[in-house]
């Protein structure tokens, strides 16, 4: 069985950091540890292969600890059987990664070597097969760190509180009334007032604010250091190594509810009674004999049941649709979630947060530009329309006029300006959508860029005259002007994560206004009951409480 912890030690990253200093206190040779740590760094830099690294210290480690269960063991053994391939595999791995992953990996490898000293402690109690770094199977991946971490960037200023995501989640997963895996709320605090009072000073554009409310969209944060997982006495709550989703194994959970207690965000919903939708009626259970047909019911590689509503007596929470991510609902749904798809204003951006080209990364790193792309994309004329309507020597005004007058396109100077600004701002960053799943923002950006390129075949958009027309000449620097233009159009939201100081390392990032410590929920633009959702589940639960007296509470 695996615990599927994201970091190599179950106590998480903080613990890893302490490791280095702790090494001095162990009875093992700390000099060896440090030497190994240094060489481990070289491994990450490609100067040394895993197998060489393993070989170099094999004897000393055997002497010191009596066994060698370092993470590189497998590579070493593979290399002995087949003396090629390992190094290139390692290089592949590190070359392809972005900076973030690279740094992470370096740290891990360094600490990983230092951890051998501690790992040996573990083996005393657990036997060699449990030595944390050494386990085969899924656990092995924890030291190698997967390239995928599903997560979201949620643009709170784009959220208009329509609750479509909540409804979609509830339908997708056959949830009971009041089991709101996805929860959307409006809030106020001393600095931010709601719809009734004006004065939302942090808003600088009409575009970005789709409702007068301060919104908060709250799925499970799929934390990298998930406290819910750490406290679970059964490993039912686990993180999938391959993509970092935090899931609950419905067949293992004992219903102690400690995860619900430990999660600081309050995203867990216990199945207090039999679920409304019977097992046989779960979506995607039409052909239970065919493993590819099983989407929701019994599942994760046929081994673990982690999707859809929970059976009675166990814990449930937002899953970020693992059956979609695993391609069980068709290739086109990989990299999407039911809530993301359902959100009319595209406030939810789901994807691989470790992939620079993914929607959540783009939206997080370039919020202004990404917003502009999302908004502009639907209206921008195609390159073909440009080609067939504009001719050489046309002035900018003529070109706009020519395109706008056609049947199938609308265009004005503002749109051209925004498109050009997007093009300017995207020069120094990634523009290829890559082969990631559903990297829609960059795909949409491609359309915009194609339009700009097509137009520039005929019109010089960077001439002084054009820049003046497009209002892109307010500063000397083209980049700065473009940024200002985009901010005027789409705003410049700040980003935050919920309860950052608690140390959970959530994989959901928010754009917009962060609720203060005294923020409280207020009635939002759409009432829960209007879309057939139950807000206060206790009202339902109280009906079945034996000896319940209304209004009596501790």
């Amino acid at each position: 069985m695996s615990t599927d912890d994201e970091s190599f030690h179950p106590l998480g990253e903080e613990w890893e950091d302490e490791l280095e200093s702790m090494l001095d206190d162990t009875e093992y040779d700390s000099e060896l540890g440090m030497k190994m740590a240094q060489d481990a760094m070289r491994v990450t830099e490609g100067e040394l292969s895993e197998a060489e690294f393993h070989d170099r210290y094999h004897e000393e480690v055997m002497e010191e600890f009596g066994e060698d269960e370092r993470p590189t063991k497998e590579a070493y053994e593979a290399a002995q059987e087949e003396a090629k391939g390992t190094a290139s595999r390692m290089l592949d791995k590190f070359d392809g990664d972005g900076d973030e992953t690279r740094r992470e990996t370096m740290k891990k490898m360094g600490v990983g070597a230092a951890a051998v000293g501690m790992g040996a402690f573990g083996t005393v109690a657990d036997g060699p097969e449990q030595s944390l770094a050494a386990e085969k199977g899924p656990r092995q991946e924890t030291t190698e760190e997967s390239d995928t971490q599903w997560g979201m960037t949620i643009d709170l200023e784009r959220c208009d509180g329509c609750l479509s995501c909540m409804t979609a989640c509830s339908q997708e997963n056959d949830l009971d009334q009041g089991v709101n895996w996805m929860y959307v709320m409006a809030w106020e605090d001393e600095n931010h007032h709601g719809a009734s009072e004006s004065g939302n000073t942090d808003v600088n554009s009409d575009f970005n604010r789709l409702s007068d409310f301060n919104m908060l969209v709250r799925p499970c944060q799929h934390c990298t250091d998930a406290p819910c997982e750490k406290v679970c006495p059964t490993t039912a709550r686990h993180t999938r190594d391959k993509d970092g989703l935090v899931l609950t194994d419905y067949d293992v959970c004992i219903g102690c509810r400690y995860c619900q207690v430990a999660c600081p965000y309050g995203v867990n919903y216990f199945q207090w009674d039999d679920p409304d939708v019977a097992y046989e009626d779960i979506d995607g259970f039409e052909d239970p004999e065919d493993p590819d047909e099983i989407t929701h019911a019994k599942y994760e590689h046929g081994e673990r049941w982690v999707d859809s509503r929970a059976p009675r007596g166990v814990m449930s929470k937002c899953t970020m649709c693992p059956s979609m991510q695993d391609g069980k609902q068709g290739e086109e749904k990989v990299g999407t979630t039911a809530c993301e798809t359902a959100c009319p204003p595209n406030a939810i951006q789901f994807g691989n947060v470790k992939d620079e080209a993914s929607d959540p990364s783009q939206h997080r790193e370039y919020p202004t530009k990404s917003r502009a792309v999302i908004n502009l994309n639907t209206d921008i004329p195609s390159a073909d329309v440009v080609d067939s309507n504009v001719s050489d020597g046309d002035s900018l005004e003529d070109a706009i006029e020519a395109i706008d007058s056609t049947e199938d396109a609308d265009l004005d100077a503002d749109m051209v300006a925004i498109a050009k600004a997007i093009e300017i701002r995207s020069r120094e960053s990634e523009t290829e959508p890559g082969d990631g799943e559903n990297n829609s923002i960059l795909e949409k950006q491609q359309t915009v860029l194609e339009f700009v390129t097509a137009l520039e075949e005929y019109v010089d958009l960077e001439s002084e005259e054009s820049l003046a027309t497009l209002d892109l000449d307010m500063t000397d620097s083209l980049e700065d002007s473009a940024q200002i233009r985009l901010e005027q159009y789409a705003g410049d939201p700040s980003s935050f994560q919920l309860l950052e100081d608690v140390g959970t390392n959530p994989n959901v990032t928010y754009l917009g206004t962060q609720p203060g410590p005294e923020a409280h929920q207020v009635e939002g633009p759409t009432k829960y009951e209007d879309v057939d959702l139950l807000d206060k589940r206790q009202e339902y639960l109280d009906k079945e409480t034996v000896g319940h007296v209304d209004g009596v509470s501790l």
């Binding site: 006495p233 929920q521 206060k536 501790l554």
Partner: protein, 450 residues
């Protein structure tokens, strides 16, 4: 006060008598337990929805409630019991020897009740073995709940060993007067016994006692149990270093009170005025007063810290707790008991066993109330306090209340059964009292009046 000599016949009386009162008591305890078992069966059939519990957060409920509150309360009684008995052996507090075994049995009873609560509280108790034991080697690294189960099991084994070892001495000596019906049990318990082992056992028991005392603040109620709560950043009402000492004080208060009530019952039932003397009650009351004082002091510390220095979220939690009428009632009960104990210490005529009994019941009620409130308060004022439905509502259902009756019945049954099987007062104690009788009054009297 009686000046009768304690005899072997005295401590054998519970075993060799069979009264109507016993049957009635047995029936009542069994009824309580069975009633709850039926209720539990209903809960298993319908799901935990039959309790008053719910989801904290948008759901507006409380994840844990009376079950967990009562669980930590029983663990407290158990841990306090074993500490009490260990202290008697380790520090040579001979005066309390007659109740040492009762304290050990209280521990066994408390742990049984606590273990039962773990099962009752779970959504899928049927998976206890496969899910928890099966992943033990992994989860023991992180999960305070697993540490908890580990510690409880360890102390169950420790207490049982402890009790078993000291029983060998008694059973082998009193064997002829014990009922033949249980012959096989006695045979097993005294397997390989020879008088030569007495000294070894004495030393072993001493070391066990030392281990219990040393580990009490770390592993028992001063450590692992409060960590179950204090390590979670989600609920500020639970955090803070004071929880360790607080839990320990509560454990000792509850255990002393529990032992007093049980001692009172045995003394009344079997005319043990000369064995469980007034002197013992006076002494226990003083100790109870001492730990109650500590408890109130820790409460004050926690509240003042929360209200004045804490970050917003813990200030909210502390204020809400102090404003709760049940909390105020519990504190008032503890405080009034403390006042009474203080007064009867300076004016011994204020002492009576009935009053000691009332004081014990008051303390047990206060600690149980505090425990349940402690658990529930956490959910009412979490760190992420944005939800309109938080603080939610919670009131224990009839089934949850019944669990208190059921576990009390369980513990009572344990005592009723054990008292028919083995002496609940050590032979050592009787021998000791006989030997020391002349000067025992002088030795202890001044302490009581002080």
């Amino acid at each position: 006060m009686s000046t009768k000599e304690p005899t072997e016949a005295d401590i054998l009386r519970p075993i060799n008598t069979f009264t109507k009162k016993y049957i009635i008591l047995y029936g009542a305890a069994a009824l309580g337990l069975v009633a709850f078992l039926i209720a539990w069966a209903y809960q298993l059939q319908k799901g935990l929805i039959v309790t008053g519990l719910g989801d904290w957060g948008s759901g507006g409920g409380s994840t844990w409630g009376l079950y967990i509150g009562a669980f930590i309360w029983w663990v407290g009684v158990a841990h306090g019991g074993i500490i009490l008995s260990a202290a008697v052996r380790l520090l040579g507090m001979d005066r309390y020897m007659p109740i040492a075994r009762l304290a050990e049995m209280t521990t066994i009873g408390g742990l049984s009740a606590a273990g039962f609560y773990i099962l009752v509280h779970m959504g899928r108790p049927d998976r206890m073995v496969t899910s928890v034991i099966g992943h033990y080697h992994i989860t023991v690294n992180n999960s305070p709940l697993v540490w908890d189960v580990t510690v409880i099991t360890a102390y169950f084994v420790l207490s049982a060993t402890y009790l078993g070892l000291t029983l060998r001495y008694d059973i082998s000596r009193l064997r002829d007067d014990l009922p033949d019906m249980f012959e096989p049990v006695y045979k097993i318990m005294t397997i390989g016994y020879s008088e030569k082992e007495d000294e070894v056992i004495d030393r072993m028991v001493w070391w066990l006692a030392a281990a219990v005392i040393i580990m009490a603040p770390l592993l028992l109620h001063g450590g692992v149990i409060p960590w179950l709560f204090a390590l979670l950043p989600a609920m500020p009402a639970w955090s803070g270093g004071i929880q360790g000492p607080m839990f320990l004080a509560i454990a000792l208060m509850s255990a002393i009170s529990g032992v007093m009530i049980i001692s009172y019952a045995f003394r009344r039932a079997y005319d043990w005025d000369h064995i469980i003397t007034d002197d013992i009650f006076r002494g226990l009351l003083l100790w109870l007063g001492f730990f109650t004082l500590l408890f109130l002091w820790f409460q004050l510390q926690a509240n003042i810290n929360g209200v004045f220095l804490g970050p917003t979220n813990s200030a909210v939690a502390a204020e809400a707790k102090m404003a709760h009428p049940l909390y105020q009632m519990a504190m008032a009960m503890a405080f009034l008991t403390l006042v009474y104990i203080f007064l009867q210490a300076i004016r011994p005529s204020l002492f009576s066993k009935k009053r000691a009994l009332v004081a014990s019941c008051a303390i047990l009620t206060a600690t149980l109330t505090e425990k349940i409130l402690f658990v529930v308060e956490g959910f009412l004022h979490p760190t992420f306090d944005i939800y309109a439905n938080t603080p939610g509502t919670y009131f224990p259902s009839a089934i949850e209340w019944l669990s208190l009756v059921g576990t009390a019945g369980l513990v009572a049954l344990l005592f009723l059964n054990l008292s028919k099987l083995v002496p609940v007062v050590e032979l050592h104690a009787v021998e000791h009292m006989r030997g020391d009788h002349e000067h025992s009054d002088d030795a202890t009297e001044p302490e009581v009046e002080a």
